[in-house]
Amino acid sequence: MNRAAFYETVLVSERKAARRSSVLVGAILLASIAALATTGFFDAQRFAEAGPAIRQLASEMVPPDFGRWQSWLRPLLDTLAMSIAGTVLAVMLSLPLALLAAPNTSPHATVYFITRTLLAFLRSVPEIILGVLFVAAVGFGALPGVLALALHSVGMVGKFYAEAIEHVDPKPLEAARAAGASPFQVITHAVLPQVLPQLTDVTIYRWEYHFRASAVLGIVGAGGIGFELMAALRLLNYDQVSAILLSILACVLVVDSIGAFLRKSLK
């Protein structure tokens, strides 16, 4: 083939590649516009009517009414306890499942597949639905909230753990095996020491998330500050609603900075 013809083929395949990617970008753009239209974003009428309503709500929310702050302390503490308890339970269930769901530690391909499916299933049931189910099962309070948080999180945390375990350096594992370590000892002394920082990271992130999520769970009767928030909303006490939201925000900031501190000191 002469040079000119060769250059031509290069340019043609370059043009083809460019066309392919512009088709893709176009499709993404189209899907985005369709999604916005379907959800009523282009309905100018509704936005025009929204203005006064929002102004009305905002004026009722300001100034926030912290008058009942003493009766929120206990629910806030409950929410904190729920987030911690939910994390502990999630970790205890996630670790063994993750070991079964990581191809390099799973005992069998079938076990691997079943565990992966179980984790995906747990992930796909929203915690608010789990909350409703557990409230029906064990009654109102913090307990159903904790169970809902934990079970939903196992799906997420187990997957992240499994992925961390999957990517460990295999060399120390071979060294442990060569030293006569049992499969269990290979996991405890060659796999876990390598992934501990990642597992800690995921766990702390999950704890922070649990605090925010448990505030929402209160809405379905699963205890904590969310329960107070829902009560204030029902009574149309918007100044109390904004006060509760601000209290939650303050607690989230505290929890996040404790998380950041833990992350740094557990490195």
Binding site: P172, A175, A179, G180, F184, Q185, T188, A190
Partner: protein
């Protein structure tokens, strides 16, 4: 004390790494497996502790007979066999001491190892680190050590098993020549002192001549030479390092 009998290994990609290799290793000897990369040295070493299972043939030790007799036999054999790896296989974020303690895992049952190692184990590990000159670096993270120091930790970890057999797979291949002589010298001295039978794979002829009691030459997965270093003449060196295609059967694709 250790023998490979007609060992062949064919990997999943149908590469024939060993072709009915047989050798006998005497108690207390420091044996060097010499050959180019791809000659089958690593595979043969890994057969000696069952990390690689021979496709055909067998590995025998004095104590047990075939090491593949049962999973219990294999574990017991591994417990008595230390291994040093080319890339040292340490966990970078653990301290040197913690890495050495890994060598003592197999003395304990599964659940017991969830507890921290006891004082006796820690003391023993520290003594071994001292023997390789690293007692003062015991609490440094493994990834903070130099290459030579990391490999010494690798040797200490293997020694922590109190092995009767030591296998070392290209232990100095990723070190500079001067450090290589020192580290291999350490391994040689310690195994001599404790009367540990040692099998080391190397590709450097000068190191093999310097330390070996016996040199086993491998080429194309076959044993092509086995004698004292003094008997290693130019002709046998040529066989070991010959170009494939020139004199050797090419490994099956």
């Amino acid at each position: 004390m250790l023998s490979a009998r007609e060992v062949s290994v064919v990997y999943a990609n149908s590469l024939r790494a060993l072709d009915s290799a047989s050798i006998q290793i005497q108690r207390g000897q420091f044996v060097v497996l010499l050959g180019k990369s791809g000659a089958g040295k690593s595979t043969l070493l890994r057969c000696f502790n069952g990390l690689v299972r021979p496709t055909s043939g067998d590995i025998h030790v004095e104590a047990f007979g075939s090491i593949f007799e049962s999973s219990t036999t294999l574990r017991e054999h591994r417990r008595r066999t230390g291994m040093v790896f080319q890339q040292h296989h340490l966990i970078g974020r653990l301290t040197a001491l913690e890495n050495v303690l890994m060598g003592r895992l197999s003395r304990y049952g599964g659940l017991r190892t969830l507890l921290p190692f006891g004082r006796a184990d820690r003391l023993a590990a520290l003594e071994i680190l001292d023997r390789v000159g690293l007692a003062d670096r015991a609490l440094a993270r493994a990834d903070q050590l130099s290459g030579g120091q990391q490999q010494r930790v690798g040797i200490a970890r293997a020694m922590a098993q109190q092995p009767t057999l030591m296998l070392a797979d290209e232990p100095v291949a990723s070190l500079d020549p001067a450090t290589a002589v020192q580290v291999l010298g350490d391994l040689h001295r310690i195994c001599r002192e404790d009367g540990i039978t040692t099998v080391v794979s190397l590709h450097q002829l000068d190191l093999a001549r310097r330390f070996a009691d016996r040199i086993v030459g491998l080429a194309g997965g076959r044993v092509v030479f086995s004698a004292a270093p003094g008997e290693l003449v130019t002709e046998s060196i040529d066989t070991i390092y010959a170009q494939p295609g020139a004199t050797l059967p090419v490994a099956a694709e």
